[in-house]
């Protein structure tokens, strides 16, 4: 990279003014020999060579040199000179590991990292500092700041409550934002998986290998009489550990299970608990990481989906009923069903009933694929339609296609209002093998699951820390203000309202424990747990610094436009020139 470049080399033509100036001065200031009768009367006229008046001899050439300098400076300005020089420090992007494991240890890795960052900012001055929280998804922490105090205030939001830290995604985000100029610093508790050779990159780890036992998995399944629980406890250490797993319901200890775990061993424990125990808390004694020692499991039964099938073909109806029964938590009920499946084109259900209209055709073609599936659609989850023969006509079918073959829609969807959906499914039963394929029950199970997910209530009652809970609200949650809210009471007792839009609200889950979701008079319990083996496993945590910045890397090498310097210097020289010329005239 050259240290000096110019953008307008044609401006060198301006140097033509130099010989012109020289010629002017030569013609004007050459010594013209003049014969005189006597020098008698010129005695009082100072001779230029005489001492004491040397400045008079000099100031004329000085004016010449000043004018020459002005020409050169103006040419330099016109050239658009850019010089490569250290401009200022480069921007710094600090990627903060926001996972729970940063809280392990005393002092914790987070505290050590914060102190190290503070010292770094004290020693070096960066053009800007921007903080990027590395959780499951990267999240910028405020805007770029320059003041260390602003950084301090931003660091208060670095709470290390995320279940995992996607550092690779955070690095990609940082590089995209910072480009080649930005310096990257990762503050975490584990060494890098692959040493990054980039000069502008540093990886600082402040973790330490520690013994930790964790509940890494917890499931509660509800039945009408009793609930079953499955818990997995892991020993993340190099030694055999003994501990006790306790189950509590309210203030009652339901069960305590002594455990002895070999190094790296995981044990799965099965329990049966009363169905009326709305919240069961399982816990281990306190160790290096507190958050993975407790889980909460709430009692929850899936709501039943009412389905009514009105299909004249017995074989097809039978296949439908078998598939729907296999989906589970479904009942066949003709009064106010949630889903009506019919081959009657004139059938119009009530407002909340989803209509699945079977368009049974007599003549058509048998298609073997390939079938195009809208993979984002809930009905297509897990579908492949491989080796399926689908008989259909080629004419159009109303609605948005979900499954097509070539340009022929086979399954379409039309939405009526917020709650009522109208699905059309065309087929020629005699030419179609789909009801005999594994994709048949999958499709109908997807339909049941989809319909159930549209019931009021939380999308799940067991969430992971950091998730955003989708909450479906019912039809009668409007408040007097015209807006609908869902209230959430967090485990620390704080309550917050979330606006309902499109009959759903989203509640960020930032605390471990049981959340109460209140919609009108209804209350749902949602347990938030931290179950992540990678975060609980502190054996690979270590301290160290990888990568190094040199001063020249901290300083940004940048081409700086020198035009203003040249213009400013030319102006200064012109002012000096004017002052000297004025002084010469005054002294004369």
């Amino acid at each position: 990279m050259p240290w000096l470049v110019w953008t307008a080399p044609w401006a060198l033509l301006g140097l033509v003014a130099v010989p012109v100036l020289v010629a002017i001065y030569w013609l004007r200031f050459r010594y013209r020999p003049v014969p005189v009768s006597t020098l008698l009367f010129w005695r009082d006229v100072p001779e230029l060579r005489e001492a004491g008046i040397r400045w008079e001899r000099l100031h004329l050439p000085l004016l010449f040199f000043l004018e020459l300098l002005v020409i050169l400076l103006l040419v330099g300005a016109a050239l658009g000179l850019h010089v490569l020089m250290p401009d200022r420090s480069r921007p710094l992007i600090v990627i903060l590991d926001d996972s729970l494991s940063m809280q392990a240890g005393q002092p914790s890795a987070r505290q050590q990292a914060e102190q190290a960052l503070r010292e770094l900012l004290r020693q070096h001055r960066f053009a800007a500092v921007r903080l990027l929280l590395a959780g499951p998804t990267p999240q910028w922490l405020g805007h770029a700041v320059q003041d260390v105090r602003e950084v301090e205030s931003l660091l208060r939001h670095w709470q290390c409550l995320e279940p995992t830290a996607a550092l690779d995604r955070a690095l990609a985000t940082a590089r995209e934002w910072g480009g080649r100029e930005a310096l990257l610093l990762v503050l975490t508790d584990a060494p890098p998986e692959v040493a990054d050779a980039q000069a502008s990159f540093q990886w600082w780890a402040f973790g330490s290998a520690q013994t930790n036992l964790a509940i890494t998995h917890a499931v509660r399944t509800a039945t009408p009489e009793r609930d079953r629980m499955v818990l997995e406890v892991a020993n993340f250490s190099t030694e055999t550990q003994s501990t006790t797993l306790s189950l509590r319901w309210a203030d009652n200890v339901l069960q305590s299970t002594p455990l002895t775990l070999l190094p790296g061993e995981s044990q799965t424990l099965h329990y049966t608990v009363p169905a009326q125990a709305s919240v069961i808390e399982a816990s281990l004694p306190q160790d290096a990481l507190e958050w993975d020692n407790r889980v909460w499991l709430v009692h929850h039964t899936k709501p039943t989906v009412r389905v009514h099938v009105e299909v004249s073909q017995a074989r097809l109806r039978s296949a439908l009923e078998k598939a729907l029964q296999a989906a589970g938590q479904t009942v066949f009920d003709r009064s106010e069903p949630h889903v009506l499946i019919t081959d009657n084109p004139a059938r119009r259900p009530t407002e909340t009933t989803w209509l699945v209209q079977l368009v049974l055709e007599k003549e058509g073609e048998a298609f073997t694929g390939p079938f195009l599936l809208d993979q984002q659609h809930p009905l297509c989850e897990g579908l492949s339609l491989l080796d399926v023969i689908w008989g259909s006509r080629r004419d159009r079918l109303e609605g948005i296609p979900i499954i097509t073959v070539a340009d022929i829609p086979l399954v379409t969807e039309t939405v009526h209002g917020w709650e009522r959906r109208h699905l059309r499914l065309r087929l020629i039963p005699e030419l179609t093998t789909w009801p005999r394929s594994p994709d048949w029950p999958i499709f109908w199970a997807n339909l049941v699951h989809w319909r159930r997910s549209e019931f009021p209530g939380p999308a799940t009652v067991h969430a992971r820390l950091g998730d955003v809970l989708r909450m479906r609200s019912g039809r009668h949650t409007d408040t007097s203000s015209g807006e609908s809210f869902v209230r959430c009471r967090f485990p620390d007792g704080r309550e917050e309202r979330f606006v309902v839009r499109n009959r759903q609200a989203f509640v960020p889950l930032r605390q471990l424990g049981v959340h109460e979701i209140l919609v009108g008079e209804q209350t749902w319990l949602v347990a938030v747990n931290m179950s992540n083996r990678a975060e609980s496993d502190l054996r690979s945590r270590a301290s160290g610094r990888w990568g190094q910045w040199h001063n020249e890397e901290i300083l940004r090498q940048d081409y700086r436009d020198l035009t203003w310097v040249f213009l400013l210097a030319a102006l200064a020289v012109l002012l000096l020139h004017g002052w000297l010329a004025h002084r010469s005239g005054s002294s004369s």
């Binding site: 200031f29 009768s37 005695r43 230029l48 008079e56």
Partner: protein, 292 residues
């Protein structure tokens, strides 16, 4: 003599025949070789009273008349003049300044004055002033007989006059044609010149470039007489200094002339050459047109 110089001398001689020396008149005694000048002199013939001027000989103060008039008055006597003109021409290099008419004017004036003197009935002898003061021709020789070899002198004429004054005839009229660009004290020069002289006329021949130089910028001044060089920046301020020095020099000579009773006439060469009319000499009543 160079052809050019001879032509000038001839022209001067022709022009000189049109003029007479005005200052000369026959003495009342009627002696043929006695003339009186209009200037005050030292003869016994009283002429008039006039106001005392600095430089006047205190011996000529008329105390009685001064007491009566309450003014200092000096007695002016007629000057007795021997009818011979000693014409001294400064032939230094400065008298022939390149680019000016100084040389031709000086030589022409000398010829003119000599011819006028001869026409006035005077004997005339011309002297050339170079490193020495040498006669230019024989006594009463006409200017056309002069052997003039140009303005080549390299020394100050004042020094020559002070150290080696020629044998001028006592009570003669002495005319010095020079630019007077001499550093010496004019009083001493004039004292030497006016010693036993009936009258002294100083004709300063200068070029217009001497009176008002039109120089600007950086110039290398070359003294044509000495060859010395002086590099100066000429601007209005420097020209003002030149004019001050010039005026001071002129005043010195005029004062010295008054002191010794000499007449001082300045002739600008270019103005004289234009029509060959010696207006300054006519105005100062040194010459008068011939009415013959």
């Amino acid at each position: 003599m160079r052809v050019a110089w001879s032509a000038i001398v001839q022209r001067g001689e022709q022009e000189g025949c049109r003029y007479r020396w005005r200052l000369l008149r026959r003495s009342p005694a009627g002696q043929s070789d006695r003339y009186l000048t209009s200037a005050p002199g030292s003869s016994l013939e009283f002429r008039e009273h006039r106001d005392y001027q600095p430089g006047d000989d205190l011996r000529y103060l008329d105390w009685n008349a001064s007491a009566r008039s309450d003014r200092l008055l000096v007695k002016v006597f007629e000057q007795e003049v021997h009818p011979q003109l000693e014409l001294v021409l400064d032939a230094s290099r400065s008298m022939d300044l390149a680019g000016s008419e100084k040389g031709p004017a000086a030589l022409g004036l000398a010829s003119l004055l000599a011819a006028a003197a001869l026409a006035s009935g005077f004997a005339c002898r011309a002297w050339i002033l170079r490193e020495t003061c040498q006669p230019l021709g024989s006594l009463s020789a006409s200017p056309s007989e002069w052997v003039f070899e140009g303005f080549t002198g390299r020394v100050s004429g004042a020094q020559v006059l002070l150290h080696e004054a020629p044998p001028w005839r006592p009570r003669s009229v002495r005319v010095l044609l020079s630019d007077l660009f001499w550093p010496e004290d004019p009083v001493a020069v004039l004292a030497q010149l006016s010693w036993q002289a009936a009258w002294v006329v100083i004709v300063q021949v200068v070029a217009r470039a001497d009176v008002a130089p039109s120089l600007r910028g950086q110039v290398r001044l070359v003294d044509v007489e000495t060859g010395r060089v002086r590099e100066v920046l000429v601007n209005e301020a420097m020209l003002r200094r030149y004019r001050d020095a010039w005026t001071q020099h002129q005043e010195q000579w005029q004062r010295a002339c008054r002191q010794v009773g000499a007449s001082f006439v300045q002739v600008v060469a270019e103005e004289f050459i234009r029509d060959w009319t010696p207006w300054p000499l006519l105005h100062s009543e040194v010459l008068q047109p011939s009415y013959d």
